[in-house]
Amino acid sequence: MLALSGMAMMLALVLAPATVAAAETHEAAPAAHAEPAAAAHGAAADAHHAHGNGVPDAHSLLTQFGYSYLTAYMFCLSLCAASLYLVFLHHLFDAGWSVPTRRISEHIASLMFPWMLILVIPILLLATRMYPWLTIDPATDHALDVKKGMFNKPMFFTLVPLLITTWGFIARSFRKNSLAQDKDGAAVWTRKNRVLAAWGIFYFSLTLTLVVFYLMKSLQHQFFSTMYGVYYFAGSMWLTFITTYVLAQYFSRPGQVLAQVVGKRQIHDLGVLFFAFTVFYAYIHFSQYFLIWNAAMPEETFWYVLREKGSWFWVGHLILFGHFFLPFVALLNQSIKSNLVVMIPVAAWAWLMHYVDMTFNIMPVLYPEGLHLSFWDLVCWPGLVAVLGYLFLKDFRSHPAYPLKDPRLKEAITHHEIPAPGQAAAHH
């Protein structure tokens, strides 16, 4: 029953562009009245062409849906991608502490296939409306001409779904091996996952950068930033640490599935890593901004100039103070990181801030005059999160909640346990 409703929601989201397209044909007549306004906007867009906002048909509902959907999709991709990173890191460092929460990361990462692949379809369908470069002839645009080896239709439409599929394959292999270990406890599964992590992290880091370039940065194809991939990575890790933190807290309450295995140590370490990435994100974003500001070359500055106009100026400041400063000061004290009265509001705030960050990257292209909240934002973000959240919970509930026979499970649980006298021999 629930599975059906989940599928229905998924279908509704995927089919939404088609429904809107149908609605738009009905609106053809009123649209004629809006012609002059649209033309004026078009002229403005032409004038700004070198600045990157030349979205054709910016007033169409379909384009607006596409942008809101992309924002929500990039938000959810953050969770899946960074969860996959957590699994990579766990195996690369041969970590002990993160065993009890690893299954959470494995399940979120495994949403990559097929769900994130299915969910990327609307973006591919609407791509020519959303990405101005897809409809520009490279012969007429120098910035596109020099990048046409990467920014061309066959590459875009092949690589984006293909790479998401391969990530899904990696994530599912991790989970498959981990679940196999639940049955026999053999060390070979850990070794397999370690080998996967060793090459996987290089492959994933390079290809994630590529997909973020395609889906987000190429909205303004003239832009250059070698930090863009790591910028997205930093924000994603930040969001995912606090999300894992909340899930770990929730599922380790008395009587819940992780109550026996997740302790103070896991909670504290997740909090510390969230704090670390608060700083790391700020460091990366500042570095990107500062290098562009300092060099002051028009082919780079236009990206931030656009984002300092109208209310985008205040959105930028919200990111500076809300994404960095507020959580930084709030979490500076050690004991705060396990204080739920502070951490739950901080988690909600972090979700909002990451969405604002995605909005700041995506929306100014469509709405150069300032922040614009549309109906689609209210549908897409909660919609995608609800669908993926439901699918995660379904996976999480139908498998053991933590790696039952992981070789490092015992040390993760007993790390801070004070042994009773006389048990010394057993302990060492």
């Binding site: 500062f290 002051a296 050690q334 004070i418 009773a420 006298p421 006389g422 010394a424 060492h428």
Partner: protein, 177 residues
């Protein structure tokens, strides 16, 4: 104990970290204040077993960091905008933007100094002499033995002998000052 001024404290030896941990719990619960444990390696959970409060080092770090950041910002403002206004690269005379990297570096530098010197001050270092170093047995604290020392200045020092015995100490010695 006949001459408390001459006695540094009671030194108890244990064989394993677990025994040390259990003994630390007893000392903590008995309410001693001037005592410490010695082990060749860090033992997870010992802070709790000893009932140690959170370290104050963080405040030194925080103060150092704030000082560093303020110093960086003020220094650049003073030099580039106030004392000797100079246009560089067509940029404003002062903006937190280009003052930031320097302020950030100074934040880290002075945080590190705060941590290092704060720690040293709290540990009362440098200290040239500790009576425990005279004890032959204690040398194994850096090898394979575990120790608790309750100092003579502790108000409950009178009960130290029985506490350590009941905590399962193998050998208890008096350490002279």
């Amino acid at each position: 104990m006949s001459a408390p001024a001459k006695t540094h404290g009671l030194l108890a030896e244990f064989d394993t970290p677990a025994d040390l941990m259990a003994a630390a719990l007893k000392c903590r619960d008995a309410g001693y204040t001037k005592w410490d444990v010695y082990s060749p390696f860090p033992i997870h959970g010992m802070d709790d077993a000893m009932g140690l409060k959170k370290s104050l080092v963080g405040w030194f770090t925080f103060t150092g960091g704030c000082t560093g950041f303020t110093t960086g910002m003020t220094m650049i403002w003073f030099m580039n905008k106030f004392d000797y206004p100079l246009v560089v690269g067509g940029k404003p005379l002062f903006t937190p933007l280009y003052a930031f990297p320097v302020s950030y570096e100074l934040t880290i530098l002075l945080s590190a100094f705060g941590t290092l010197f704060g720690l040293a001050a709290l540990c009362r270092l440098p200290k040239w002499y500790n009576p425990l170093f005279k004890n032959e047995r204690f040398k194994r604290a850096s090898n394979d033995k575990f120790f608790i020392c309750i100092e003579a200045v502790d108000p409950k020092f009178g009960h130290a002998q029985e506490t350590l015995q009941s905590a399962g100490a193998k050998i208890i010695e008096t350490v002279e000052d």
